[in-house]
Amino acid sequence: MKLARVAYAGAIHAAQPCELADGRAGVALTDGRRLAEEAVVWLPPFEAGTVIALGLNYAKRASELAFSTPEEPLVFLKGPGTLLGHRGVTRRPSGVKFMHYECELAVVIGRCARGVRRVEAMAHVAGYCIANDYAIRDYLENWYRPNLRVKNRDGATVLGPYLVDATDIPDPADLGLRTYVNGKLTQQGNTGDMITGIPALIEYLSSFMTLAPGDVILTGTPEGAINVEAGDEVVCEIEGLGRLQNTIVGDELFGR
């Protein structure tokens, strides 16, 4: 099952994908209304708890950034204010030189996990969605890198469109990822190339922290993250999970 959370006509609804009468893709609200994708406001598809993100979890990405593969997973945390739904807009501050997307598989925890061994880890996964974890490299500093100013900006972590049940994704370790900027393919990878795979990540994290339902792990991005500019449309695609669209906007929308 694929579930979205959308705002429509004054309320927040659960929604599932459907085909509209004219053949276009749309969403069906639980109350029976069937709507075009652009008629609703898409929210992150679940109420996220702790947001855990991975850096340098694809070997070629690590070498692209001139880092050797980390000995321990490089983990950082995010707050709720950075989360954004499908079809939202993300601000690119004027004057920055390098802001890039990161297409990532997001793993949503469904059962409490503490001291879980990797062979049992997948039983703790509720489902998956796509994440686009923007970074602004101009703000990188070598203190708790990547720092929150790079990675925890308002509206700069896109989740969605749907939360897809784990049972619908038989092999999350073999999913193609692709990013398109203005329709042009710019990033391509496969979740099979993760350095630390999902079961090992759950084992590692749950060895020192309790993971709770709603916690989400953004599992890192492959190589090919390039600069985006205001006006660019960025689409992250993961096999079986759909397409997550986002638009870069400038400071002027925010009165800056």
Partner: protein
């Protein structure tokens, strides 16, 4: 406060409701930055921090006054991170020095417990985000009760012995300035907590000891330290 069934701590402190989000500012106490000495200009850091260096204490770390703090296996000591905690009262985005404090509901005490770690190059999640590593005092002192949050004495005692005395007057970014710089890029919401900074050297504790943190006008926070934890 949102919490999963495996995270049983409820931290509601009427009339305030905490969101469960706790952010902290690393090296925001002058003594902490000074303790690194010349290292701040050397690899891996290369330069002192320009923007606030923030970290998150996730919901699994939250603990109540009196709750036991576990020393993980293979670790002998923990660091006590005594800090004033700002409790946000209104959505706080792009604040100015003039209006920043008006966005606070009040204050409490945060103990940002860590496994001692260096360097500060990578976010040290395994050192800072362990279960129960963020005790909070049980009551929020309203903003109106504190004349100047940048002039409070913070005392840490271990087993009744005074181990550390510091003051919030030595923050690199005083309270209002910290709020301005943080909310320039991330909005803080009502019930969020921002720990303003821990002084160095942070007292260290072992299993069997008892920590007491007092902040002038805010109250106290006491937690025992126990061993033999996962």
């Amino acid at each position: 406060m949102a919490s999963g069934p495996c995270i049983a701590v409820t931290m509601d402190v009427p009339p305030f409701r905490l969101s469960g989000m706790v952010y902290g500012a690393l090296l925001n106490h002058r003594t902490a930055l000074a303790a690194l000495g010349a290292a701040v200009n050397q690899p891996p850091y290369q330069a002192p921090p320009r923007a606030p260096v923030l970290y998150i204490k996730p919901r699994n770390t939250l603990a109540s006054d009196g709750a036991a703090i576990c020393v993980p296996r293979g670790v002998s000591e923990l660091e006590v991170g005594a800090s004033l905690g700002l409790v946000i009262g209104r959505p706080a985005c792009r604040l100015s020095l003039e209006n920043a404090l008006a966005h606070l509901a009040g204050y409490l005490i945060v103990n940002d417990v860590s496994v001692p770690h260096l360097p500060y190059y990578r976010p040290s999640i395994a050192a800072k985000a362990r279960d129960g590593f963020c005790p909070l005092s049980g009551r929020v002192v309203p903003r109106s009760a504190i004349a100047d949050p940048d002039d409070l004495t913070v005392r840490v005692s271990v087993d009744g012995e005074l181990e550390q005395t510091s003051t919030t007057s030595e923050l690199v970014r005083p309270v209002a300035k910290l709020l301005v710089d943080v909310t320039d890029f991330m909005t803080l919401m009502p019930g969020d907590i921002l720990a303003v900074g821990v002084a160095a050297p942070a007292p260290r504790v072992r299993a069997g000891q008892r920590i007491r943190i007092e902040i002038e006008g805010i109250g106290q926070l006491e937690n025992p330290v126990v061993g033999a934890c996962a």
